[in-house]
């Protein structure tokens, strides 16, 4: 199973909160496989994931002829998906306010275009920043907040 198989799914993941949710839901789905009254996989996905993510997963499963597969093969597929989600690169953003969905989409798109599709955002809130953001990615750090600018201004 090629890791690039999950790229369309990972592209739709925006934040670490979403990624954590995906990992948790996958655990629940894989637990359902061995129950007596088996529920169709499409139903399992639509019940647990937002529509865009579940439809993307269904397409991936269909393309790889896994919809009717035996539970063991499906379990392997979902475990691989979990690993792929866990290995996403995290770009940490500390903001002064909760971002709107539009801003979040824009930020996520920018991050994926700049750093690759496997990049997801970790949003932290710190109202003392006033505005702007603190960005950390792969060991690099940038404080582009108004708080910092004001501190620099007053220490001069």
């Amino acid at each position: 199973m090629d890791a690039s198989l999950f790229t369309p799914f990972l592209t739709q993941l925006r934040t670490t909160a979403e990624a954590n949710n995906v990992v948790e839901q996958i655990d629940e789905i894989t637990n359902m496989f061995y129950k007596d009254n088996q529920i169709p996989i499409s139903k399992l996905l639509s019940d647990r994931f937002p529509s865009d993510l579940s439809s993307t997963l269904e397409i991936i499963l269909k393309n790889n002829n896994l919809t009717e597969g035996n539970p063991t093969v499906l379990k392997t597929f979902f475990e691989r998906l979990q690993t792929a989600v866990r290995s996403c690169d995290v770009l940490s953003l500390t903001l002064a306010h909760n971002p709107t969905q539009t801003l979040l989409n824009n930020l996520s798109t920018y991050a994926k275009q700049t750093f690759g599709n496997k990049t997801i955002l970790e949003i932290n809130l710190d109202p003392t920043l006033i505005a702007g953001a603190i960005v950390t990615f792969q060991g690099n750090y940038l404080d582009a907040s108004i708080k910092r600018k004001l501190e620099e201004y007053f220490t001069k």
């Binding site: 950390t136 792969q138 060991g139 690099n140 750090y141 940038l142 404080d143 910092r148």
Partner: protein, 503 residues
Amino acid sequence: MAKFTDYLQSTGEIGYVNEAVSSLAYVSGLPGAKVNEVILFESGESGIVDSLEEDYIQVLVFAKKPVKTETKVARTNQIFTIPVGSEYLSQIIDPFGNLLDKFKPFKKPTTYAEINQIPGGINKRKRISKAFDTGVTLVDMLITLGKGQRQLIIGDRKTGKTNFLYQTVMTQAQQGNLCIYVAIGKKRTDIKAIERFFAENKILDKVIVVASTSDDPTSIIYLTPYCAMTMAEYFRDQGQDVVIVLDDLSTHAKFYREIALLARRFPGRNSYPADIFYAHAKLLERAGNFIANKGEYSITCFPVVETVEGDLTGYIPTNLISMTDGHIYFDIEMFSKGRRPAINPFLSVSRVGRQTQSNLKRSINREILSFLSLHDRMEKFSHFGAEATTNIKDILSTGERISTFFDQEPERVYSISMQIFIFGLLWSGFWNNKDYNQLKIDIKKIREMYLSNPTFRQTTDKITEKAESLNDLLTILTQESPRLLQTIGLTSSGNSQTQNSKT
């Protein structure tokens, strides 16, 4: 020191603690980190980069408790340095240059030096040519040392190693040289005892004690000798001969082993890491006789290593034997026989000391060593119960007298000329018909007179200076000693002509 966030901003890098064990932390991020760079944790602790791996860096943390995982970490872009300066004279300090007595008012020096400096190469070194006095007769006479020599002190626990080092430091401090006593992972009471000894002997103003206690973090104990050596290098560059005592490197090796095992490095012999030799060699290589900024100055180093039941073939002892210029072996058997110092002259070596000896000392050294080996043979022979001839009896009693002459109380030191003078008297047969206790009492009298009477001191110094060889010395002593000794109430046993010199 600037704030944590200031370092984040100035370096533009951040890391997170992935795992922490004891004094070690594994940190991800910080792509630009360098080995030996100071690292700051958000929780206030600091550390230095120990090694760089592909996905993480290994940090030696200067904290007793492990740092918490996910703690933010910042680089400082500064290599680990310690303050150095003469302000530290007569102080007991930790490896970072802080006083152990935190309530004492003290102003830290403003000069800083890196702890891991590259040792001077061959072009920065000079042949060892000046003699180094320890004040211990047996060593000065038989295992002569030179300034800049690295001499290993090896022996079991409680065999008098520390007393010998105290005597050496005392002699050197009295001669005006600077001494650094490094206590590695010692108990606080032991450190206090070191300070007390130097204070009681009024030499504390020439001594710096760099100490780490057994309850300090492993990382700090590991760095102690390197910090002390940095300090020694500073004083050498300032134009001073320095003596550094590393007490002891077996403890240091054990703490380094702990770090290496926690760092998941592959264990080698006795579970020590593969680079234990390098860890000690890079330290001892920094001692020697150097062409410093202000002339020829030396760092004489006394690393100490403990053996178990007199086993010289242990891993750390053999490593250190191979990287030093000789060793002084403290023999547990000699200690049990009551010899003080319990140094075994036949198992001790000085590889460079002989080149610093004067002609007189060389001839005395040769004479004593050949006599001692003869005495050793005769002693073994006498064990068979064979009837001893007069000649053998003479050899055995002279041997006993020489042993008594070498016996020395821990707090007493003898200057070289005093040692030569007393030996000359002994060899000329001055004490031939006196018992060994009388010899001890007379030696004590001569020492007291030498220290208190300047005329007596000058005369003995002149006698030893004048003599070119042992025979010269004996001739001069036959002429001048009776008058000199009469002044302190000592009289010859009547048989002034030597039999020993003939043997």
